[in-house]
Symmetry: C2
Subunit: 154 residues, 2 copies
DNA sequence: ATAATTCCTAAAGCTAACTTTACCTCAAGC
DNA sequence: GCTTGAGGTAAAGTTAGCTTTAGGAATTAT
């Protein structure tokens, strides 16, 4: 039986639209920390619905699970987060989002300059400056361009 | 020996800043198609420097290699692409970029509404509408939120 | 009481975009 | 002419974010 304020993983999955396997995965990543009942099954609490909803929204914005875990860490540990708590972390969030949008916009404007000059070659091209759009994902080092450029005519 | 307009993979790597292994990988993905010399070594042409530069820039903007391959397909096959060719595909590119920025901005505005109401729960929340920020990457289905939501008080 | 669900864990698989490793060949320098 | 560096291939490894599979155990429904 599901007691008031205790929900099973299946119910949580239905309420959030997440797959059960995704929720289990999120637990391994420290995004939720359900208790267990006598039989070893996960027992979530109702506020976990909002917590996972936040995770999903944050992902839409392009944040990684690592980053989301950090942000969630700012919620109070000793009590169930209330609306004000969520509002606060959403605001921090918004600031980061604004930066992302600006970085992308700056990059676009540089592209405009390059469309004008038709360059798209190494040297001189503003697009080769690495100081934009932080999030490099995937494995391995990403080499930044422009450093060994020599012959501008290619 | 490296004849005028024929360059080795190592030279190309130096000129673009890419790793040799990355260039080989790009070949498997159909982003460059070097010829081979008698000994079986790849011989690129100078315009491949610009081609790969374009790939790197496009990646900065968040395009996938698949998408980049499509765009590169619009370049003329029968001759070396000139500045005008590059300008044209850069412009298409810019249009997509604009859309991305707008989608992100719309999403941010929705977040503003949600900061106001402090909701962040299923139902009613504008953030749960799936019609934004196209690029879902990674494997498997991504479940879209909001469909089974029932109890708004969580 | 028994069948049908739901849940559990551990391990392997998948995609993107590469890198690393292992092992072999070609090309350049002295 | 031989050593060394640059190149080549194929296969496996890496990260993120999950899903799938396999094989049990706990719940729920009848």
């Amino acid at each position: 039986m599901e007691r008031r304020n205790e929900i099973s993983i299946g119910t949580l999955a239905n309420r959030t639209g997440l797959a059960v396997s995704a929720i289990r995965y999120y637990e391994t990543q420290g995004l939720v920390a359900p208790e267990r009942n006598a039989g070893g099954q996960r027992r979530f609490i109702r506020s976990d619905i909002r917590r996972l909803s936040f995770v999903m929204i944050a992902q839409k914005f392009g944040f990684t699970l690592d980053r989301i875990r950090e942000v969630l860490g700012r919620l109070p540990q000793n009590r169930t987060p209330n609306a004000k708590d969520w509002t606060e972390i959403s605001q921090d969030f918004r600031a980061e989002l604004d930066e992302q949008i600006e970085a992308l916009t700056r990059l676009r404007d540089k592209l405009d300059g390059c469309i004008g000059c038709g360059c798209l070659s190494l040297d001189r091209c503003a697009l080769y400056n690495p100081d934009d759009v932080a999030a490099q994902k995937g494995a391995g080092p990403r080499y930044l361009m422009g450093d060994q450029a020599t012959r501008p005519e290619d």
